[in-house]
Amino acid sequence: MERKDYRKLYWKIIATTLSFSLVPLFTLGATIYYQFRVSYTAKIMESLRTLTDNRRNAIDLFFDERVSQLYTLAYTHSFDQLGDAKYLDQVFTLMQTRSKSFVDIGIIDQDGNHVAYVGPYNLEGVNYKNESWFHEVMLRGVYISDVFMGFRKFPHFIIAVMRREGDRNWILRATIDTQIFDTMVKAAQVGKRGDAYVVNREGVLQTAPRFGGKLLGKIEAPGSSQFSGIHVEEMRLNGEAALFATTWLKNKDWMLVIKEDPREELSPLFEARYMMIGIIALGVLVIVLGTVFVTRATVGQLIQTDREKAMLDASLEQSGKMAALGKLAAGIAHEVNNPLAVIKEKVGWIMDLLSEEDISKSENFKEFDDAVHKIDHHVDRAKKVTHRLLGFARRMEPIKEKVDINKLLDETIDFLENEAHYRNITIHSDYYPDLPTTLSDSSQLQQVILNILNNAIDAIGKDGEINVKTKHNSKDEQIVVTIADNGPGIPNDRLDRVFDPFFTTKEVGMGTGLGLSISYTIVDKLGGRIMVASEMGKGTAFTIYLPVIKQEKV
């Protein structure tokens, strides 16, 4: 496989593993977060609903109490009694000892004349005949007004009760301290950004909100149609999203609005979200690291296996090729050998005959003799060729013979001496004097050494030196052969590939890329090991370790 394919496989495995582990992680995270968010939001809305309910009840109760207080007062006294300002003052003072809700109180006759008044403003004698509330109360009996400025130029609202006494009607009217009402509504303001206020049907503020408006001002309120119960929903008003709870009061067409800032209320949710993002990020990191690590190891193992397989394939292919070649050679040798044997015998026979005296006297004897000897000579020549072919076939099987490595090195260096000399390369040899012999295959070893020396010479090119060294490692019973050149060296990223089959740095057609691969296989088969070390600019050193074998194992 190509290096590029391994990269591709590497990314494929990583992508698959990551998608299989991350998708469930994200799904789980998102689901949990979503569920948590839903239930948490529901809880917040519920508590907002409860708060709103309580507040509305309190306000309703407040109105109920005020109205019944005035009712009680109106129906337990006559117009004449309360029309007496002195008496009214007494009653009002009594009422105020228990509750400061009322600012003032007044009695108005059916013509709108303010008959009696107790309070901080001088309103006695004012005629209310043309005020809208006056008509309302005459019509309905009880009336709670919106907040208005009125004659006193101060925001207030009134509660008025009408009593029918004989043939005349009169009205008991009291002013509610907006301050007290405000405070009661504001008690529902929660947190730093929460708000609570009351608006009337036209969206006019009846209490001062905390943000975005003032008393009697307009505010963008959530809806204005009347409904029963409590509405809680998230809305975007005045450019910010908020939770709104709205409800209509029982005694008055006012709407209570309680607003909560979701950012504030949902802060535990956001905390949970950050925590979850953190945990997921950590999980992703662990998964990614784990995946990369495992994938790297797997692909590394695969590369290793492939490399070994490729090497095995190459050596199998090589030995298969050689075996076929050997068979062919042996076949030819055999087929040629038999006729050669016959020719040789025939020639021998002729020679025998020629040695008889009567023929030797013949005219052309010299010519005969010469021809016959030439034939014999050339049969011998042909015999040498066939025998060498047979020898080649035989060499396919690794032979075990006593090999003197030093001698073998010398012989091999001799082969290349000319080439090296021509390129001005000196080959120094430094041999261990008492190197033991070992049982090995000398011709195969020679091939290995030849390969390495050839590569060294090619690497140097011109002008340089090669050092060949042998050593005996008596501890491990090993012969160590080092062949070092002072060529340009092999870059690190290529160093681990030099033994790969078909890896070559030579020009196309100049090297098969099999030399070192076959060398590796040979040394491996002979029970040894071959290693390479290189430094850029300094050179490359190949080291062959061969076991010292004294006797062939049976």
Partner: protein, 136 residues
């Protein structure tokens, strides 16, 4: 080189004929047959001291013939003649009791030398057998 009998076994008639003639010319009492079967038949009636046996023959091959011969005449020496890659078969023959092997094409002098050595060894063996009172 007299007084002993040699048998040559080879399927290549041209070869057989010529080598027999040449050995006869060198005053050796030599016969030739062209198959292992014929050689074994001949051994029933006649006595030979040294046999030159081709390894590769149609029908019964050299190694089989060798085995049979050694059964019949343990003291008779056999020289294997190999014509192909079979150094191994030559070796195998030696393991089966052949005296030596010669690669084809062989020179007549090498062959004569081997025959001589084989005969000497046969004499040595026979003497040894007599000395140890071993009766075959």
């Amino acid at each position: 080189m007299e007084g002993f009998r040699v048998l040559v076994v080879d399927d290549e008639l041209d070869f057989l004929e010529t080598i027999v003639k040449r050995l006869q010319r060198r005053k050796i009492d030599v016969s030739g047959v062209e198959s292992g079967k014929a050689a074994l038949d001949l051994l029933e009636h006649q006595h030979f001291d040294v046999v030159i046996l081709d390894v590769r023959m149609p029908g019964m091959d050299g190694l089989e013939t060798l085995k049979e011969m050694k059964k019949k005449r343990p003291l008779m020496e056999v020289i294997m003649l190999t014509g192909h890659a079979s150094v191994e078969s030559g070796m195998q023959g030696m393991q089966l009791g052949a005296f030596d092997y010669v690669m084809k094409p062989a020179s007549i002098n090498d062959l004569l030398e081997k025959i001589q050595q084989a005969y000497e060894r046969k004499l040595l063996h026979e003497k040894h057998v007599k000395d140890t009172q071993f009766i075959r």
